[in-house]
């Protein structure tokens, strides 16, 4: 069985041991060929030229000075309580975990993830409806009575920039068209709509419902159920989401394993 976390911990311990061994003499600074090459490469990136011997010597001097000051700063504990150092180290640790988790991914696992999280990949239900607008509540209520008595609908309602008919709008879009208060009331009307679907259209006017503009009588005509987007269409996105969810879990597991090592006192 693949146990990335275990491997990570073992690897980490080995590195730590090796590091402690190599750094036994912390007052020794090694300037080797690898370092010189690294400095030279940086120099090239900044200036576009290969460092001349005297330039390289000066680079090594600068590096050495920095390294000594860095070690001294560490031994004085200047890295403690520094928000930038702290954040950067935590970030590096995150990268380590992400790297361990960056293995091959099995399609079946992604498919399962898709099925478990189907709601995330499903379009919301949508609705077609008609509306009549009134600035005042009283006028809207009076109009509803007229409608119920079989009045011609075309002559009812006040002019506004709103439309008479809306087709296939999701609740989010309805919220955009009329405001959140309206869309909340609308979603309650949906329940009723599903119960009385058999009654004649003209008798299905309800309201008044309040919006950002005023008051509305509405008639819901159709509910279009949401459909999940097929896996093949958005496979890449699902893979990315799946990876992210695995990373979140791995990071949490790692944190919890560390958390046990520490005793935290709340005072």
């Amino acid at each position: 069985m693949r146990e990335p976390l275990l491997w990570f911990v073992i690897l980490g311990c080995l590195l730590f041991a090796a590091d402690s061994y190599l750094n036994q003499k912390s007052d020794t600074i090694v300037v080797d060929q690898a370092l010189r090459e690294r400095l030279d490469k940086l120099w090239q990136a900044q200036t576009g030229n290969v460092a001349r011997p005297d330039e390289l010597e000066s680079l090594v001097d600068t590096w050495m000075k920095e390294e000594i000051l860095y070690r001294e700063a560490l031994s004085l504990g200047l890295d403690k309580d520094d928000a930038i150092v702290r954040r950067r180290l935590v970030q590096k640790l995150n990268f380590l975990v992400e790297d361990v988790e960056d293995g091959a991914i099995e399609k079946q696992a992604v498919l399962d993830y898709y099925k478990e999280n189907l709601m995330r990949y499903t379009l919301p239900d949508r609705y077609s409806f008609a509306q009549k607008y009134f600035a005042e509540l009283n006028d809207a209520s009076a109009a509803l009575s007229l409608l119920m008595s079989g009045e011609e609908v075309g002559s009812i309602g006040e002019t506004s920039m709103l439309n008479d008919d809306y087709r296939a709008r999701s609740l989010r879009e309805i919220s955009g068209d009329f405001g959140a208060e309206f869309s909340r009331a609308f979603s309650q009307e949906i329940t009723e709509f599903n119960e009385q679907i058999e009654s004649p259209q003209d008798q299905r006017w309800t309201g008044p419902i309040r919006s950002s503009f005023g008051y509305h009588l509405i008639r819901i005509d159709e509910q279009i159920p949401g459909v999940p987007t097929p896996f093949e269409y958005i496979e890449k996105r699902i893979v990315a989401d799946y990876r992210q969810s695995k990373l979140d879990v791995a990071m949490q597991d790692y944190y919890e394993s560390l958390r046990d090592k520490y005793k935290v006192e709340f005072r």
């Binding site: 949508r126 920039m161 879009e173 919220s175 068209d177 987007t229 990315a240």
Partner: protein, 623 residues
């Protein structure tokens, strides 16, 4: 560690494979229904559609280094309402999907930086690519960006211009636009940004928007020429080969007076030919976006109490001051009619839109949910200067110094079109039947004509189209003032409307002069005839929680107006400005959420607004 980071970058790159997302076709998304737009059938009286024609993705050299890995596909999915992950690790989502969207990446080094960070490419071997796979915090990114920008503007710039990288990015942008265009529901445009500047960061940027489903082999960029007049010639050439496009200048505010100067690029006086070429190719201007609003400046419009609004005083991407004259829209429109009067041509007869210029691939126009626009550089309140630094910086600044505090949560392009299709929306852009907003979804109608019906007439719109001209149009005036019909509706999820104004420019003693008239007031207010102002409607904002007063403001405002100062048959230009009740500015929202006081040297509130395209009255019959 280096190799781990490298793997991480690879992994991230793999996740953002542009071919990864496929929009389900109509049959899969459920029957033949409409998901955006108000009506299924074409509406001859036209619907308002909202969109953003200025969007940068991972292919823009700057966006990529700011941390943006979202592709054009991701951008279009976001516009249709799906969530997108910000590089800072939080989700962004629109409250209401947009009707149209155009990815407009910088053609200048298109895709180059992304290729530099990809170790499998030739470009990644270039010395400038050193460290591209190790970018982490804002500071490092800003430093690297500065270094790269210097290189791109140096003699050696062509070293990192890889034609294959350029071409494949451009082809992907075209393919993504065509993949996501969904007639009747959601419109996309093939587009790009022409990123030129003159002198020292004097912004001359334009977005080029193509009409159809084909683009040129490669865009015309600043590498081809920094002179926008050469762009127009190129566009004329493309048009003659059947490739229709228009260009939209933006951030004139940061142009140091260059965008609307009264000389051509080479410094010669403007000519009738210049005006023809400019207007043939640039019928619109972006009046507002994240990097400030370019309507007017208090120094230009001392009698306009609303001129002091989201002024961004610098040249783009610098803290160098930007000269005022030649940098603002209203002054240019005024100079235009003055030139028309004196010389018989008008190079500034443009309509108006807003857009965002987001570099996160995601439109960012909500004051109360603001992620600004440059990725990891300004996604935290402290970084964008709305919340104090933990301790003052070396110069003693309490806030991050720079220019992000002057940026705003804006804007949107509005069009009046028969239906939500490329053809209908493009035609609306061409005839300037457009308006711009600061991010709010105010809808505004504007007509001028003689004998328009009363504002409450049942067939108002039909009559207005039949007897008058809509925004963006021309009218031959008679002796008396025409009737102006103005009609605005609030954003259902924003603040209610406070007032509607008409901004007028006409010629007095040979000079263009401006005046601002309130024409409709909320809460039953009546315009004072001596001041042309509405009474105060009493609206207020609570700065401790950003709550707004519930009992003031209007859902709709409508007026039929005549110009009381109209001078028999004169030349004039009019546009509408609609103002919402005040609401908290994004910087105040940041402060409130962080539990600190809003920054004192920034306005705590703003009045979100919309501007219509102008209507021009031209005494000569043929314009």
């Amino acid at each position: 560690m280096r190799s781990l980071l490298l793997l991480l970058v690879l992994f991230v790159a793999a996740c953002s494979d542009p071919k990864g997302t496929v929009e389900p076709s109509r049959s899969e998304t459920g029957a033949d229904t409409v998901s955006t737009g108000d009506a299924m059938k074409a509406n001859p009286l036209r619907n308002a559609y909202f969109g953003d024609l200025h969007v940068h993705t991972m292919y823009s050299f700057d966006a990529f280094i700011f941390g943006t890995i979202s592709s054009p596909d991701d951008a279009y999915e976001f516009a249709r309402g799906k969530p997108m992950r910000h590089p800072g690790g939080f989700d962004m989502q629109l409250r209401e999907p947009l009707d149209f969207y155009a990815v407009s990446d910088h053609a200048f080094y298109l895709g180059a930086l992304r290729a530099m960070s990809d170790p499998t490419t030739q470009l990644s071997k270039h010395e400038l690519s050193e460290g591209m796979d190790e970018l982490s915090d804002a500071l490092g990114r800003r430093a690297k960006f500065g270094k790269i920008l210097d290189f791109l503007l140096s003699e050696r710039r062509l070293e990192i211009l890889d034609p294959a990288v350029y071409k494949s990015a451009w082809d992907d942008i075209i393919a993504a636009a065509n993949r996501h265009n969904d007639p009747g529901k959601f419109t996309t445009f093939i587009g790009y940004e022409y990123t030129s500047s003159s002198g020292d960061f004097e912004n001359l940027h334009r977005n080029v928007i193509f009409k159809g489903d084909r683009g040129p082999n490669l865009p015309f960029s600043r590498i081809d020429s920094g002179n926008p007049e050469d762009l127009w010639d190129w566009m004329d050439e493309q048009r003659s080969q059947g490739l229709e496009a228009l260009a939209i200048p933006h951030n004139s505010n940061g142009s140091n007076g260059q965008m609307f100067k009264l000389l051509d690029f080479g410094g010669a006086p403007l000519t009738s030919d210049y005006a023809d070429r400019r207007m043939r190719n640039e019928p619109l201007v972006e009046i507002t976006q994240v990097k400030g609003t370019s309507d007017t400046h208090p120094a230009l419009s001392p009698n306009d109490e609303w001129a002091e609004f989201e002024i961004m005083p610098y040249r783009i991407a610098t803290t160098l001051p930007s000269a005022i004259n030649g940098s603002y829209v209203r002054e240019a429109l005024m100079n235009g009619i003055e030139l028309q009067e004196k010389k018989g041509f008008n190079p500034f007869k443009f309509g108006l839109i807003g857009s965002s210029d987001t570099h996160n691939a995601s439109w960012s126009g909500y004051e109360d949910d603001y992620w600004s626009k440059v990725g990891l550089l300004d996604d935290e309140p402290v970084e964008r200067g709305s919340v104090k630094l933990a301790e003052p910086d070396k110069e003693g600044n309490e806030y991050t110094s720079g220019y992000y505090q002057f940026w705003g949560a804006a804007g949107l392009a509005g069009v009046w079109a028969e239906e939500n299709t490329r053809a209908a929306i493009y035609d609306a852009l061409r005839r300037k039947e457009t308006f711009g907003t600061t991010g709010t979804r105010i809808k505004v109608r504007f007509f001028a004509g003689y004998g328009l019906p009363g504002a409450n007439d049942q067939d108002l719109l039909k009559a207005a189209y039949a007897r008058g001209v809509p925004m963006g149009g021309d009218l031959v005036p008679e002796r008396d003032s025409p009737d102006f019909l103005v009609w605005a509706a609030r954003d259902a999820q924003g603040a209610p409307l406070q007032r509607v104004q008409i901004v007028k420019a006409s010629i007095r003693a040979g000079k263009a002069v401006e005046s601002v008239f309130d024409v409709a007031c909320s809460d039953g207010g009546v315009v004072d005839k001596s001041t042309n102002r509405c009474p105060d409607n009493g609206s207020s904002v609570n700065l401790t929680d950003c709550g707004i007063s519930a009992n003031s403001g209007a859902a709709e405002l409508k007026a039929l107006w005549r110009d009381p100062d109209y001078d028999g048959g004169e030349r004039a230009m009019y546009y509408v400005r609609v103002l919402e009740n005040p609401t908290c500015r994004w910087s105040t929202w940041d402060a409130v959420r962080s539990g600190v006081a809003p920054r004192e040297d920034l306005p705590a509130t703003i009045q979100e607004r919309a501007w219509s395209s102008p209507i021009w009255l031209n005494p000569e019959a043929s314009q």
